[in-house]
């Protein structure tokens, strides 16, 4: 009897049932269930966690990262979530240094890079499709993105309970990127000191970054000076990326 129940439980998972979110059974369920239940915020590595009142990234929100350390900070923000099993999509950052992501503590097996077309509508459609499967998205919006499309994307982010991190890339690499997103949190990360580098000698060993979090979902601005890469980021071994051993 118990075996039969088990078989009945396993069987449906063998067949491939295509699930299309946003239509059919899922929508019915969602309307019947009402608003999505509140899920715990995504974890954030230790030195950055204290900058968020909730102790992590609240799902469904848009975070704008600016300043000269924007990309490094965005990677650091998504690191703990990927180690806990979330997937990270990096959209329109074709030159991402994976080594920097690993140094920030991102689980490299759960990074996917996407290069959607730059036309506003196609770009938003692609990112919206990625939202279905990814908990964290780091995006560099193209200049052509319209505010209307950005709003639609944010609605999708809220419905799917993911986190959208909009980064500002240095002006010298990309054509001026516009931030048309109305962000819930603004994270400004500016390097205040580079240590190690001199007039010809040594090399950069560490950067000290001042991170300031403010925005409409933040009651009072919080500020903290951290060093990148944080020593705690990559040394912490993920419990999930290594499967349990047979012994």
């Amino acid at each position: 009897m118990r075996l039969r129940r088990l078989v009945a439980y396993v069987r449906p998972s063998l067949g491939r049932t295509p699930v299309r979110y946003g239509e059919g059974v899922t929508t019915d369920l969602r309307t019947r269930l009402g608003a999505p239940t509140l899920r715990a915020p995504l974890p954030v590595v230790d030195p950055l966690a204290s900058l968020f009142a909730e102790g992590g990234l609240v799902r469904g929100r848009t975070v704008a990262c600016t300043g000269d350390a924007a990309l490094s900070t965005a990677l650091a923000l998504s690191a703990a979530a990927t180690r806990a099993g979330s997937w990270l999509a990096v959209v329109d950052v074709p030159n991402l240094g994976i080594a920097a992501a690993i140094e920030a503590g991102v689980a490299v097996e759960r990074i996917v890079l996407a290069q959607p077309p730059h036309a506003s509508r196609e770009w938003v459609t692609t990112v919206a499709a990625l939202v279905e499967g990814f908990d964290v998205l780091i995006v560099a919006p193209p200049a052509s993105l319209s505010a209307n499309d950005a709003r639609r994307l944010q609605t999708r982010i809220m419905a799917r309970q993911s986190v959208l991190i909009v980064v500002e890339l240095p002006a010298l690499t990309s054509s001026a990127s516009s931030n048309v997103f109305s962000s819930d949190l603004d994270v400004r990360a500016d390097t205040v000191a580079w240590s190690g580098i001199e007039q010809g000698g040594s090399h950069i060993t560490q950067r000290t970054v001042q991170v300031r979090v403010e925005g409409r979902r933040c009651a009072s601005p919080r500020e903290r000076t951290i060093t990148l890469p944080c020593p705690t980021m990559s040394s912490a071994q993920s419990p999930c990326s290594t499967p349990p051993r047979v012994s």
Binding site: V10, V19, W87, E109, V112, L172, G201, S202, I204, S247
Partner: protein
């Protein structure tokens, strides 16, 4: 059906990826000439991983007159192919570098009953540098004296411990299994074979059954008892020759999922799959594929793409594809897959895979990529980006993405790593590094700078140099005239010059930026930005 092991030949290169890297080629494509050399003597081979070829002796052995002559033939054919591959690329290689490559190219040919015994025989052959043939029906007795430690070296031949393609994690899992067996006082396969199968299952779960079967010299998978499922013809014929690789793959994807579903509905899964591709002019490519845990539709597609790429690259078919056939060769009882609580496959992985496939369908598979370790001292070449449809995202582990076993690269950029990197082939922003008098900074043959850098021009913006480190010379493959590379790196800390841009109000006065510039062939280019 008799439960007797298949007699197989195993050709194994334990250090293939290092060898391919020394040649500057990807492991899969560099392995093709070797595969072709073997195919000349045995038409249907199985390439389990780059560096491992397995095929059944039955037909070829009778044709050439015995296992010994087959082994000798394969050994000499593979040896010639390796020499041709190394000589082809290395050209005027100097002696010592060539010898270093040769030791990576060491291989063994082993013949025995069952994959494990043949795998261990190939390990013996590697040390003796001549083929090892275990006489027919002697394998289980021969295996009984072999140490269980050899399991670790045969991961790619016998497949993974659990569900999953062999990877770095699986080698570790096998190490754990071996270490536990040794702590229990079971040093040889004979000791393990003497144990009751049920005890091994109690200790190791499903793998215990496989372990017991392997130790007794049987095939890992028991033959299917009961009625085989009704045959399903999995033949795809195109109306006209199809030239595009993606079209073929997309069309077969549908077929593969139908086949896997059909078998799944019967409660079985295929572990060996025979794939035939035929062009309009009658050219054929056929190959056997093996997955110890059974094929998923994604695994079928991954294998097909590998076969198609190899065929197009090395045989250059003169016409489009008209036919693809998938025939399951060996079936096992499908134990099903259960999403794991810790590790293994989770719901999130499946959702991500689905989203990626959807985006790949929308914008083309090239638009979605995943990083894979390549290893280089150039920050932009340390990782390559692999098309998402070439990997099975649901089973991806950290070992697939980064191989830290290769160790640190001398001459790589020191930590912290830059978050934006530019390859020399990219259209990276143009950079000019100037000294205080406005002349371009040059570096002589002894890596001395003509003057200290004072300012950097990127496109139309000018930045003042605050501090710099270097110059760091990079000289690669100086022994190979064609692939030699000579460059100099400079780490720069710059600050934007005021008054030159109208929108200075936007940028903070103290905002400084760190970057790496590279001088190669007398031109400076931007290599990395610490963003």
């Amino acid at each position: 059906m008799l439960d007797t092991p298949t007699r197989v030949v195993v050709v194994q290169f334990p250090h293939w990826s290092s060898f391919a890297f020394a040649l500057g080629r990807s492991a899969r494509s560099a392995f093709e000439p070797i595969v072709r050399a073997v195919v000349a003597h045995a038409p249907l081979v199985e390439v389990t991983a780059p560096g491992v070829i397995v095929f059944a002796t039955r037909g070829p052995s009778r044709y050439v007159g015995g296992d010994e002559s087959l082994a000798a033939l394969v050994h000499s054919a593979v040896g010639d192919a390796v020499r041709a591959t190394a000589g082809d690329t290395a050209g005027a290689t100097i002696g010592s570098a060539f010898d270093a490559q040769r030791s990576h190219a060491a291989f063994g040919v082993g013949i025995a009953d069952g994959r494990l015994a043949a795998g261990i025989a190939s390990q013996h052959a590697l040390r003796a540098s001549e083929p090892v043939v275990v006489p027919a029906n002697e394998s289980s007795r021969w295996l009984a004296t072999a140490p269980v430690r050899s399991l670790v070296d045969c991961v790619e031949v016998i497949g993974a411990v659990g569900a999953g393609v062999p990877g770095a994690d699986d080698v570790a899992s096998y190490r754990d299994v071996v270490s536990l067996l040794e702590r229990l006082g079971l040093y040889r396969f004979g000791d393990v074979a003497a144990l009751d199968e049920s005890h091994l299952v109690a200790r190791f779960g499903a793998f215990g059954r496989d372990l017991s079967r392997l130790s007794r010299g049987l095939d890992r998978h028991p033959p299917l008892v009961g009625e085989p499922p009704p045959d399903r013809v999995c033949l795809l014929q195109f109306d006209g020759p199809v030239e595009s690789r993606d079209t073929v793959v997309n069309a077969v994807e549908e077929l593969a999922s139908q086949l896997v579903d059909h078998l799944g509905a019967q409660g079985v899964a295929m572990v060996r799959l025979h794939v035939v591709i035929e062009s309009d002019h009658g050219e054929r490519s056929e190959r056997m594929w093996y997955r110890s845990e059974g094929f998923s539709a994604r695994a079928v597609i991954e294998s097909l793409r590998w076969q198609l790429d190899a065929w197009i690259l090395h045989d250059a078919p003169t016409s489009g594809v008209v036919m693809v056939r998938l025939s399951p060769e060996q079936l096992i009882v499908n134990a099903g897959r259960q999403s794991a609580l810790w590790g293994g496959e989770r719901d999130g992985d499946r959702h991500a895979q689905r989203a990626v496939r959807r985006v790949a369908d929308m914008n083309g598979a090239d638009s979605v990529t995943v990083p894979a370790w390549r290893g280089d001292r150039d920050p932009a070449r340390m990782f390559q980006f692999v098309r998402s449809d070439a990997v099975d995202l649901e089973r991806r582990t950290a070992g697939d993405a980064v191989d830290l076993a290769t160790g640190e690269w001398r001459g790589a950029l020191p930590s912290p790593a830059p978050s934006l990197v530019f390859d020399s082939t990219d259209d990276a922003p143009k950079v000019r590094v100037l000294d205080s008098l406005g002349r371009a900074v040059a570096i002589d043959a002894r890596h001395a700078m003509s003057a200290d850098p004072a300012c950097v021009c990127i496109d139309d913006d000018t930045y003042d140099v605050v501090a710099w480190a270097g110059p760091w010379p990079v000289e690669e493959r100086w022994w190979d005239a064609r692939r030699a590379r000579r460059a100099v790196r400079l780490q720069l800390l710059v600050r934007q010059r005021h008054g030159e841009r109208s929108d200075t109000s936007k940028t903070d006065a103290s905002a400084s930026r760190a970057m790496v510039a590279v001088l190669e062939r007398r031109t400076w280019r931007l290599a990395a930005i610490y963003a």
